[in-house]
Amino acid sequence: MGRIERHFQDIGYLDTLAGQDTAVHRLDPRAKLVTTLAFIATVVSFGKYEISSLIPFLFYPLYLLAAGNLPAGYVFRKVLLVSPFAVLVGIFNPLLDQEIHIRIGALALSGGWVSFVSILMRFTLTVGAAMTFVAVTGFNTVCMALERLGAPRFFAIQLLFLYRYLFVLVEEATAMVRARSLRVFNGRGMGLPAYGSLMGHLLLRTLDRAQRIHSAMWCRGFDGSVRVMRPLSFGRREFAFVLGWVAFFAVMRFFNLPSYLGSTLSEFMR
């Protein structure tokens, strides 16, 4: 139960971060969404043994982190904590691909380790970018951006509702779970019958709430479509942001900056 609750608090925190007012926060969400998607697509397009050429891509999340005034430690911890799935699947690579790939002095690295490290890098980059993106944009604004970029309006509105009532329902569920745990002894009462009834009640309450919300909407002139007034403007700053970063990604995709720097440096030292 702890995991979701913690996540839930995180949502609140991300929301607070998104409420700041910096230059990146003020950018049109569409610009940030498009750029972030381009970023992720570029990162995952690298071959599976690529490590060094992925490094320059750290610039983007780091930029959002710094310019958006986000707490680096928090974001970093979050990235480390989440989703073990990629790591679980990736950890098989070193076992399965043992062909020696790189030697540095006496140290021999198998292809599996290299690709595993590459997976971790990708993971850090993609998750880091998505998280910093949300933290400088805010969920509601992301929904607006989605809708303006062509997602069905119905879907976008539905996302807004889900997000709004997440807070209410998680609180209700927490209260119910707490009430149950106070009356569970020796694990008795934790079984399926009690669960079915508890969830069933929560479900019925949820359905009643939906009914009440609908009546509240109806009372204020709801006619099937939800109107939101949120002027978005895609101006010169947005263009510069998107073009600048996409150009950077493109260059870094085809030009391995770290290798170049490294070889120049070793050349220089010689």
């Binding site: 710094a66 539905q158 509702f161 669960y195 969830m199 019925l204 770290p258 290798s259 440096l265």
Partner: protein, 353 residues
């Protein structure tokens, strides 16, 4: 079992996105036609319910472990397939954005695996066939179990295929299947039990809720439409994969060289190294940036054994390492600088006013 961005290739991600976008569009259009307004809050609140449901556990007898409701099937039973699919897509979007469960590129895959299969396959073809319209205990339980198991098996299969097609993980198809399918059989059974328990409660307490959704739903997707969706996904995937193979023939070459072993002609460690970097090799800003032993340049292919070849590899690795560190330093410094400037501005702002 969310797919992660780190494990998929852009082609697979894009194909899944395209398929998902199609399904979301189709469902939205379908719902708009029969829209009666009260679905909007209902779907939103039920999506939030799915989140809340994931924090409530029950103990599975005799195992000591615990399970919870997953969502797909119960939503379909309450809302009908299209609305349930959209709701699940929203749930997964929120998870991708906030919990970093999955990722933005993998979102398409996740919606397909966890939303499409339960709502458009397991619900109409299994759950409804067994339990639809009936209020009998055994029918609901059987339907929920079969539906949940089928949905999750398909979902797991999706994960395996997407991972395998992406080729980032080394897991062979068969091993991966062998790992994933049985685990998801167990998860499916638990989910089925949980779904049945909740549906049975609703049947007893407020049967009209389920009856309301039953007649309205009709066939969600005709078998023919379903086949078309699969065919479309296959074409996109197949096309994408072969496109990539053709623009990057060395990917194939590399695969072949692995089959034929490191001694085979035309494959040396040096060449093997850089499957993806090859593009940049060919665009050739700096064609070869390996260590130059004694200043004499030796083409990797000309050497007769692996040691020299790997020496080139090592050279690349070292310069990669050094350069990587350097880049990191620059990125870090830039971030630090930006942040300092920002903080200074933030401090300066209120003080000045």
């Amino acid at each position: 079992m969310h797919m992660a961005d780190a494990l998929i290739s852009p082609v697979v991600g894009a194909a899944a996105w395209a398929a998902t976008a199609g399904a979301v569009g189709h469902s939205s259009r379908k719902l708009r036609e029969e829209l009666d307004g009260h679905r909007i809050p209902l779907m939103g609140v039920l999506g939030a319910f799915i989140f809340a449901a994931q924090m409530v556990n029950f103990t599975i007898p005799a195992t000591g472990s615990s399970g919870h409701l997953g969502g797909g099937l119960i939503l379909a039973a309450l809302l009908g397939p299209q609305a349930a699919f959209l709701t699940l897509a929203s749930v997964l979007t929120v998870q991708a954005l906030f919990f970093a469960d999955g990722g933005l590129l993998a979102l398409g895959c996740n919606i397909l695996n966890l939303g499409f299969f339960p709502c458009f396959v397991a619900y109409p073809f299994i759950y409804r066939k067994i339990a639809g319209g009936h209020m009998k205990r055994w029918r609901i339980t059987t339907g929920a179990l079969a539906g949940a198991v089928a949905g999750l098996q398909l979902g797991a299969l999706g994960v395996v295929l997407e991972t395998w097609l992406s080729g980032i993980s080394e897991l062979p198809l068969r091993t991966f299947l062998f790992l994933m399918q049985p685990i998801h059989l167990a998860i499916g059974l638990v989910e089925g039990l949980a779904t049945a328990a909740v549906v049975l409660f609703v049947v007893k307490a407020r049967p009209e809720i389920l009856r309301e959704t039953e007649p309205a739903t009709g066939p969600a997707l005709s078998p023919r439409a379903l086949a078309a969706v699969f065919l479309g996904a296959a074409i996109v995937l197949g096309g994408g994969v072969s496109y990539f193979a053709s623009v990057r023939p060395d990917g194939l070459e590399w695969a072949l060289s692995r089959i034929s072993g490191p001694g085979a002609p035309g494959s040396t460690a040096g060449e093997v190294h850089d499957i993806a970097g090859d593009l940049q090799d060919r665009t050739a800003v700096l064609p070869d940036y390996g260590f130059r032993e004694g200043g004499r340049r030796e083409p990797a292919a000309a050497t007769d054994g692996t040691p020299d070849g790997s020496a080139t590899g090592a050279g690349k690795a070292v310069s990669g390492l050094v350069g990587g560190l350097l880049t990191l330093l620059i990125a870090g410094a830039a971030g630090f600088f930006l942040k300092r400037r920002h903080n200074a501005a933030a401090r300066g702002g209120p003080a000045g006013s």
